[in-house]
Symmetry: D2
């Protein structure tokens, strides 16, 4: 059924279109007074002609307005600390967070068109009040500890290397149980949710509803066992019920992949490149319906296969140093640094030292809507 | 597990927030020189504080920038006809289409943030050249006939009341086999695809690859039988393989629902309100991964239940007259008129005469991402 | 992960095992008094040793106790007619049906281990009373008309070529609205349901609850449109809601496949071999969770590819004549004749004339449990 | 559409049928010479009348030929030990296993119509040779250790409390790395696979292909982390890739459920009754397509809700003592004892001491085919 028509007439430019830079052709019309009047009437009628902007709405391949960009952890952290001095946290503003504003997106607080990424700062003893929203969120901790995020009343400790979930419409607040401040990364689907107009919001308690500081959340006590499911929760859930994915497990999984590789068993994505995806134990799929999260570990000296992918990602270096090659740019990175890869921009990573990178992306959106495509450079 | 925390501290405004108009509170800070300098530094660092724009990125309920709006068929048709006189169709521009430009969306050729809707005009004997793109498309015909849309080489006749598919990445062109012009409605997911950066495009033949004008497409000859599936195509397909849904079947299905209602059997959505959804016979789900389409028939005098829904819709009156009540506005409508309902705007329809309305929406997107919500007014 | 171990030690018989006839080896033990006493003790303890019957419970490939077999329609019909003279129909016995009893299954009324197939006879003016059961059923009509099967109160006309559904737990009775008797084929999952112990039963009305005799059932009035779904029924249903699949559509679908083949478009399973599967419009899958049904049409002179399949089938010739080659046997068949193909028995069909064959099988069971496998002979 | 017909005529027996004991009515015919001759002819024609055996093929509710039964671990173990003295293990017989032969199933080595359950015995230093089959298998260890089961070349240690998988068509052998014998329980879907004729078999190495005895299998090194998935294995798998579910995790999960109950959080099935299901991390569903496995923990003094369920189960007491109430029978049980619950037999458990019970069942079969039903006694 997928018969590709014989191309008796070649398109202008033919097979030698350089789709990396070429644009689709708009209509090439001499604009006399009649046409000018027509266009005015069209605009007055809340209409818009396709033929003058074909090249705006259709492109040979995805061309994001977002650009590849690097944010240094050091700079982020310093500004967040300064915010801690100048800006109180509480009802009104809700969170002391500084969002990555992609230079290509006109000042909007968006890392990419679909992804919100921010550093959040909570001073010693402070509390961020409870609320809930349709937007899905996670936290990832590159350094520090001492904050508990309380999700639907369940206090969840946050520690270096942990990946923590706040699925949509779950009440959540944070409280710092120590004297020292703590910073971490928030990831949300806010830009997408805003764009497609799906967001609801509700205020909750002005303090967290459970101020305990247990080492292990109730969600983990129910769910954090390999392959075991409580008999009280047998239905698939939209988002993962496992509130915390601890570094201890992530690290062990990655180490074992590299050990198995050493022993000659297939276990890595490519030589020297291990990786895990955080999943929803009720389905085996992504943790959130709109966000994917992974941890990649490269041996020193490894370079990943270079590829274009539909959909956008944010990477944070968890440990080590290396280089992100994004399109034509090279970014030298170290611990905590954040890098954005817009849709279809070629990317690869070179590890100078052993390198651990946390990645999150809008891949579940792209896949659920059937738009996923990957091109391996050189293949 | 979904314990809602006890609300010991009420949010400001408490339960008497009028969420129809209220906005979330931003931080209320006196902006001295230190803070000003801090904000400048934040901006220079490609960052953006959340606390100053909480009310922009989070809302009590969806508040689309798109607004409810009505376009008259008569006016659309006249402008399309004029375009037929002034603008050639062919490679370069590709299509003679006038897109609905929602007055709330700043001149973009978008009916809603996710939906493209346009009137397309093809003069007698004209051909729109072939191309393909990732974006999914359909056509709906409110009047006329004589054009064949050729989808992956299969000529599909277009006639009043027909609903026709061009799934993503299928080559397609149109040719008018008569001397008279023809107009129809195109629906696409272009705004969403552009926003999330997923679009690919390829030129095809400059003429359609099969100029035959059969009454029935090959797709229909394979697929247009109730509940029968060719043994050569047993896998689920992302988009419906049934290229055309003919008015004859749609009309009969709606008539039978109303007859069954008359005979006392449950068959209608609510009294006097029949409806069908166009579906993918390989899954029973929506015809396209990003677009839903339905035909609604109201008896004269019927008023539909009033409801808010997450996601946006476009309606076209196929026959009859009535009133769309959208938020606070009332729009009197007749044959061919197009109406846009943005996300969460309350809508209901009053039928003055027997009223047939075609509806399409981004509901598959909303549902696949888990954001669907409906509120029935008064419930 | 699917590393096949190196076979350092070859199994006895090695690669030259003729798995068509060979059996697995049981333990080869000299049975002295100690072992005999042990076996007695084992039996007394309600236990059973594996090593003495390895070859019974494990086989190189499926070896059904059911055998290939042919039943002549003429003979079936004559006995059914005789039953019509000797045996009343009504509460007590419930149905005047003669079931195919596979000669390999020891007299059980089973066509295969999973499938019940029977001829049912209803005299002029007779009624088979209503009841319901967990077991899923369908009817297929090779000749005659005049009976309405009433399914959950909906009278469904039965005519030559129609395929009719009675999903599990739907009340159903039949009434003959004419003076002439009528016969048809019933297919059910009774043997499987009995074996796995899942059946419930309930008596209903002693007459059908709606004695009307409409040409079209209410189920068809709601559902029998290509790709259209009533807005009142949007959830997937376990069984198809479309009570009747009419010959008119089946025949047209098959004719079109052969016409498309003539025109050079891919549309048939193999040259000269068209086929459709009856499907559930709410999912695109099989009509019933335990039974698959198809109609195959062969051009005169066509021979199908020979294949082994896991799972058992029953075929009924709807029209024409030909030969079923089942394992080593050849069965010449004509209109109405029924043929059983047990699991993994090689089958092919040779069409002497244009040949239409109805097929039903337990394929949904085999597929849902992950046991499907096919071997094409010569491949 | 699910209109239950008005019952103008009550079935004979009406609502006061005691469906626990009543049988459906067969036809009540006086059998004269004509009918006798007819029946003879029917039988000669490989047919079978329905009306004389309605009550055999249809029942008011499931009535398994299998009966509730108890096997004492002590007795099983003693016979298995004796088999160890009398019967060698190796190619020819393949395994030294004694299968539970349900007293209702005429001597077949079947615990229920769908489930094989056996004790397997492997002496010090012995090896059970490798083979593979379509049938799915697991092991559960109630005592002992020292055997490694090698699954597709991956040695998996077996220890008390562990649940171990051998999915269909995976090569597997076992070797005892110690001087002491070891016994464990095998569970397979052999009776179902035999009945529906789906089994393939292949001999493998006569010794295990990897004689190492690591504490942790490679499967666990890749998969045994809560919610983490290797990036090399992102597709759903029919059976769980996690070869071993260790007691340490199972025990901790159950303890935490009871602790959470103590703390006032919903976590148990009913007061004092904790439980986990072993699941496939690639789907969240059952570990095997045909078998479900769970571990239940009761506090001393707890009695479970009494229920009838479609489908059959086998229970093994892992620790503690109590009573199984199966239909009218009470079975006092202790460590290692095995109990069979056929389909629809009411069951409940009373815990005299803290009681841990392993349960496996054919529930995935019943659910995938849409036959699941539960009745809670007294509800």
């Amino acid at each position: 059924m997928e018969r590709r028509p014989a191309q008796t007439h070649r398109p202008r430019g033919g097979s030698d279109i350089d789709t990396d830079t070429a644009e689709l052709q708009n209509a090439d019309l001499e604009e006399g007074p009649e046409l000018r009047e027509f266009y005015e009437q069209v605009t007055r009628s809340d209409l818009s002609p396709l033929w003058t902007q074909t090249s705006n709405v259709l492109t040979f391949h995805p061309r994001s307005k977002a650009v590849p960009h690097l944010w240094r952890w050091e700079a982020l952290r310093a500004l967040a600390e300064r915010a801690g001095e100048l800006v109180p946290v509480g009802r009104g503003g809700e969170r002391r967070a500084l969002a990555l504003a992609n230079p290509g997106l006109g000042g909007a607080p968006y890392a990419t068109p679909t992804i919100w990424a921010a550093i959040q700062w909570l001073g010693g003893g402070e509390t961020a009040p409870e609320h809930r929203h349709s937007q899905h969120a996670f936290r990832f901790v590159v350094e520090g500890e001492g904050v508990w995020t309380v999700v639907n009343g369940d206090p969840v400790a946050m520690r270096r290397g942990d990946f923590l979930l706040t699925p949509g419409w779950h009440f959540h607040g944070h409280h710092n149980d120590t004297d020292a401040p703590m910073a971490w990364i928030d990831g949300l689907d806010v830009p997408l949710s805003d764009y497609i107009d799906v967001g609801f919001f509700e205020y909750g308690s002005e303090r967290v509803t459970d101020e305990a500081s247990p080492a292990t959340s109730r969600a983990e006590r129910l769910w954090a066992y390999p392959g075991l499911r409580p008999l009280t929760q047998l239905e698939p859930q939209v988002s993962s019920p496992l509130a915390a994915y601890r570094w201890e497990h992530t690290d062990r999984a990655l180490r074992q992949q590299l050990s198995l590789e050493d022993e000659g068993f297939p276990s890595t994505i490519e030589p020297g490149h291990a990786g895990i995806r955080y999943t929803n134990p009720t389905t085996g799929g992504d943790v959130l319906p709109t966000l994917r999260a992974e941890l990649h570990r490269l041996r020193a000296g490894t370079t990943t296969t270079r590829r274009h992918e539909v959909g956008s990602s944010v990477w944070q270096v968890f440990d080590g140093s290396g280089t992100f090659v994004l399109g034509d740019e090279r970014h030298q990175v170290g611990r905590g640094d954040l890098v954005v890869v817009p849709s279809w921009v070629a990317w690869s990573i070179e590890a100078d030292s052993p390198l651990d990178c946390f990645r999150f992306s809008d891949a579940p959106v792209i896949e659920r809507l059937g738009f996923a495509r990957t091109h391996v450079v050189g293949s």
